[in-house]
């Protein structure tokens, strides 16, 4: 199939070349489900739909001008450690000119050196205490080789003196800034990843903190191990994780974050950890690290990555045992509560005892939701922000075992308190995070039509503004909720949505089949939009004529969607028939149309056919054929056939009567042709005579 076969690809929507290319794949998918697709494809299809990047940008542009995207950002001092092309010694190649000097950066980097690494990149996180009026800092170091692509290497040489150079990009951020925003290690590392630190720059950089999309599989799979490691860290001994060589450095960093999410946030102010350290490195200054061999100095606790073992705590660890009990009892609610404990804590016996004495009160997610609803009512921005962050952390620590019952409770709360309503007093980014976390807590993903209806019912209106933008970033189980969300604000949404569906591999028949299947379940106020788009999308099929005929020109679907409402049905049917047959229907076409057993001859169809008939005098014939088609459609096909033949014979009209039924234009044409013929004959006869 060529793109030219698809009307949108052929020119209805310029600039959609990429989407049209994907559309071929969509048809392959369509072919795979084609036999009986309308019966087999469930409404909540497994193929979920997400926005393409282009469409997301388009929707982002649709945001109101008074809602600028103001993300969270932190200030980072930075240094690049490595070698110049003509040097043999590692040193600070360049650094920012803030609080830290080049010597300070050198001390931090060499202090937390983790030895030879078999693979790069790796990550180290560390702490730098405050002094002399300066705040405490947290550091994240990216150990890496220079990118082979000169455009991405930041002017660094990959090989110096015959050896690969391990560069370190170190970013130091005030602890207070990170604690206020509750930034995680993977988010911080991800946010600085693209900062290549080119030569010539010396100013500290402003880093926009990018939050992870959602819970990672590491959080679900390794929570038990993380609980053990968190407890072992509280014994004040360093912990070494063995056997994680095959895991990526990014996943190891996520595990470090998972462990630290089970301890008060304030303990990050004293944590140094690395995704890899040499087992033979002397005097490692790391509290938590991954390695490939056990140390036998008796000062380090070891755990295995893939082989969970029962936790053995030293005899004098009563406080740690109490903490462990609390952690296990509190479950997923522990992390959000601990994230709020941002006052610095050390890994010492005194601080651990202090921690156990002041364990956060168990605060469930539903309680947090109640608090948040209250804060929204009072328009307390700070409390709202704190509540949202707490829920986000709860979400991040949630594992797959979180049941449907919890979700149901959350949904009831969110809907009952109208928490998804527009909040003009809040900033756009706060609102976006609020809606995102509420939707994730309250609804199953991908979002279904039923979920959309609940959201709309709770709002009293279709979702607009920030909520709509957030919704459009989710996955949808089918096209109906996506369509309704996209259409909630007036804009040129149809072409974009077509591109999204094509990009998602949705065959042209899928939306209309979904409408056919769910016709009686779609809420009346949604029916027009849903039908119109599905029909529009179907008309883009290369064999749309055949598909429409297969579905009886959608007459029955329209009757189900708009029962008895001829004003709604007729223009849509007329559009369909015009698409298939053109402006006028000949007697033969009418006969073919009503003779098709797949047709359900509704009143609207009959009226539309009558209005489109080439002869205005064919009413009786149309009424007769429609009547037979109805009998046939009701299951009496044979009777209808016999009846039609008998009627033909009995009601054969006299010639004059039949001539009277001829269209006036036909008679006029015939008279003119006869006159011309007579005139020509006269000329010929006259010529022969002379």
């Amino acid at each position: 199939m060529s793109n030219g076969d698809v009307p949108w690809a052929a020119g209805e929507q310029p600039g959609q070349q990429a989407a049209a290319t994907d559309y071929r794949a969509a048809h392959a998918y369509g072919a795979a489900v084609a036999p009986g697709a309308r019966d087999k494809r469930p409404a909540d299809a497994e193929v979920s739909i997400t926005l393409t990047a282009e469409m997301a940008r388009q929707f982002a542009r649709e945001q109101p001008a008074d809602e600028p995207g103001t993300g969270q950002a932190v200030t980072a001092e930075w240094a690049l450690w490595g070698k110049q092309a003509n040097e043999t010694a590692y040193r600070v190649l360049r650094c920012s000119d803030g609080v830290f000097t080049s010597d300070d950066f050198r001390e931090v980097i060499t202090r937390y050196a983790s030895g030879v690494k078999e693979r790069l990149p790796q990550y180290t996180v560390c702490w730098i205490p405050g002094a002399q009026g300066h705040p405490a800092y947290l550091g994240v170091a990216v150990h890496e080789l220079a990118d082979p692509d000169p455009a991405r290497s930041g002017g660094r040489s990959r090989i110096v003196g015959g050896r690969e150079v391990e560069y370190v990009r170190l970013f130091c951020v005030p602890y207070a800034e990170l604690a206020e925003l509750g930034v995680s290690y993977p988010d911080l590392a991800g946010s600085v990843m693209e900062q290549q630190l080119p030569a010539g720059e010396t100013a500290p950089i402003r880093v926009a903190v990018q939050a992870a999309a959602g819970p990672h599989h590491i959080a679900a799979k390794f929570r038990d191990l993380a609980v053990n490691v968190a407890a072992l860290l509280l014994t004040t001994r360093p912990v070494c994780v063995l056997g994680a060589e095959r895991t990526t450095a990014e996943d190891r960093l996520r595990f470090i974050e998972l462990v630290m999410s089970l301890l008060p946030y304030g303990m990050r102010s004293r944590l140094s950890a690395s995704t890899w350290a040499s087992s033979t490195a002397q005097d490692l200054k790391l509290r938590l690290y991954f390695a490939n061999a056990r140390r036998d100095d008796g000062k380090i606790s070891h755990v295995s990555w893939d082989q969970p073992e029962p936790l053995t705590l030293p005899g004098e660890s009563e406080a740690v045992r109490l903490y462990l009990d609390w952690l296990r009892r509190t479950g997923a609610n522990a992390a959000p509560a601990l994230a709020e404990r941002t006052e610095p804590l050390r890994f010492t016996r005194e601080d651990v005892r202090r921690l156990v004495d002041n364990l956060p009160r168990d605060r469930s997610v539903t309680e947090t939701l109640e608090d948040l609803a209250d804060s929204l009512r009072k328009q307390d921005r700070a409390a709202v922000t704190a509540g949202v962050e707490r829920l986000r952390r709860h979400l991040a620590s949630q594992d797959d075992r979180s049941g449907a019952a919890d979700r149901e409770k959350c949904r009831q709360l969110v809907l009952r308190h109208g928490m998804l309503k527009d909040r003009p007093a809040l900033r756009h980014d706060v609102k976006a995070r609020l809606y995102e976390v509420l939707l994730k807590l309250a609804f199953d993903m991908p979002l279904t039509y039923a979920s959309y209806c609940e959201i709309e019912r709770s709002l009293g209106d279709p979702p607009r503004g920030t909520l709509r933008s957030v919704l459009l970033e989710f996955q949808f189980s089918s096209f109906i909720p996506l369509l309704l969300t996209a259409k909630a604000e007036p804009s040129s949404w149809e072409p974009q949505l077509v591109a999204v569906l094509i990009g998602s591999g949705i065959a042209p028949t899928v939306p209309i089949d979904e409408v056919v299947q769910l016709a009686d379940k779609i809420r009346p106020e949604h029916r027009m939009a849903v039908y119109d788009f599905a029909a529009y999308y179907l008309r883009g099929a290369p064999d749309a004529w055949h598909e429409l005929k297969e579905r009886g020109y959608l007459a029955e679907t329209l009757e189900e969607l708009f029962p008895g409402n001829l004003k709604r049905q007729e223009p849509r049917l007329a559009q369909t028939l015009r698409f298939v047959y053109g402006e006028r229907l000949s007697a033969g076409q009418i006969s073919d149309l009503f003779g098709d057993s797949r047709l359900h001859p509704t009143m609207a169809l009959e009226r539309v056919v009558r209005s489109m008939a080439a002869s205005p005098k064919a009413d009786r014939e149309i009424a007769r054929q429609a009547a037979f088609a109805r009998i046939s459609s009701a299951g009496y096909e044979e009777d209808a056939r016999v009846l039609a033949q008998g009627t033909d014979e009995r009601y054969r009209q006299p010639l004059r009567e039949r001539l009277r039924q001829l269209p006036r234009s036909t008679i006029t044409t015939a008279v003119i042709v006869a006159a011309i013929a007579a005139f020509v004959a006269y000329l010929i006869i006259t010529a022969v005579h002379h």
Partner: protein
């Protein structure tokens, strides 16, 4: 600046007194250690074998051998102070104590073990001009003071290009002396290794100085006899880019007892041996393939270490004797 984390004063190193590697960066310290196991396997007649004394050291041993033999690459540069705890173990038939056996006294097999507590640090940590890192440098000097044996690496090729050997030894030795509890020369055993003998410039220097002899191996590898090694060192320092290199020898003699300093001309990877010839080819012997960005330097063929066991064995035996009560 923000304060240094608490507890930044390094505690004294634990474990028995060991052997510490001292040399500028890229002088071949880690490669030398990595070649130790291969060297022992090449010389089974010596009766010594190497084993790791802890899991990390064993793993490092395995990685070194795999990198150099299978992957033909040099070990990664050292980024922190690494501590390898290996043991030389030997079984010598008929060298043990006399024991009554049936109707007569008979000598038993001698089982011997020499613990090697080897400390390898980044060359930068010994740089007297540019501080690498306060904690790491202090720890390194502490290691040197506590160790009984020191391997000093002198790379004539780097020295010709950079001339930084003196800079990397003088400061460290001065600090060692200031930290030493006793007066006079330090009691350490020092093996001065003149490295990269397989490099063309070094080999040709030895050839022109008529200091070569054919080794006892079947492959007929040339070597500089141990008796000429100090003289060879004395001639090589004259080729240094820096005038200070000539001061290294007097400095060593001032710092350590002369009878406890020995010189070895070494090569960790040895000469290239064409498998079809199976003997040293003076026209084709370079085993080191220089780096070609983005590929790092590589090892061309099989590894035949030269004088790698000898300094370690000598130091190991002396360190073991020193440690004995």
């Amino acid at each position: 600046m923000p304060a240094r984390p608490q507890g930044s004063q390094p505690p004294p190193p634990q474990g028995p007194p060991g052997i510490t590697m001292l040399g500028a960066q890229q002088t071949g310290k880690t490669t030398f250690l990595a070649a130790l196991q291969i060297a022992l396997l090449r010389k089974p007649d010596l009766g010594w074998s190497l084993k790791g004394d802890n899991p990390g050291s064993t793993q490092a041993l395995i990685n070194f051998v795999n990198d150099m033999t299978d992957n033909h690459v040099f070990p990664r540069p050292t980024a922190a102070i690494e501590n390898y705890r290996w043991s030389l173990e030997g079984e010598f038939p008929g060298k043990g104590p006399l024991k009554w056996h049936r109707w007569w006294f008979r000598r038993q097999n001698l089982l011997s073990s020499i613990g090697l507590d080897l400390v390898d640090a980044p060359g930068e940590s010994a740089d007297g001009r540019q501080l690498f890192g306060r904690a790491i440098s202090e720890r390194f000097v502490d290691n040197l003071v506590r160790s009984s044996g020191i391997v000093v690496f002198y790379d004539p090729v780097s020295e010709f290009d950079r001339g930084d050997a003196f800079r990397h030894t003088f400061g460290v030795l001065a600090q060692m002396r200031s930290l030493a509890e006793r007066r006079g020369r330090l009691p350490h055993y020092v093996a001065v290794c003149i490295t990269k003998f397989d490099e063309i410039r070094v080999f040709e220097s030895a050839y022109k100085l008529k200091m070569l002899e054919i080794g006892p191996e079947a492959e007929e590898f040339p070597q500089v006899p141990e008796g000429d090694a100090e003289a060879f060192f004395g001639r090589l320092v004259r080729l240094s880019r820096s005038d200070n290199a000539a001061l290294i020898l007097p400095m060593l003699h001032q710092t350590f007892r002369k009878e406890r300093v020995r010189f070895f001309v070494t090569s960790a990877i040895g000469f290239y041996l064409n498998p079809s010839l199976a003997v040293f080819d003076p026209d084709d012997y370079q085993n080191h393939i220089p780096a070609a960005d983005p590929e790092p330097a590589r090892i061309r063929g099989a590894i035949y270490p030269i004088n790698v066991i000898e300094p370690i064995l000598w130091l190991g035996e002396n360190v073991a004797r020193t440690a004995r009560p």
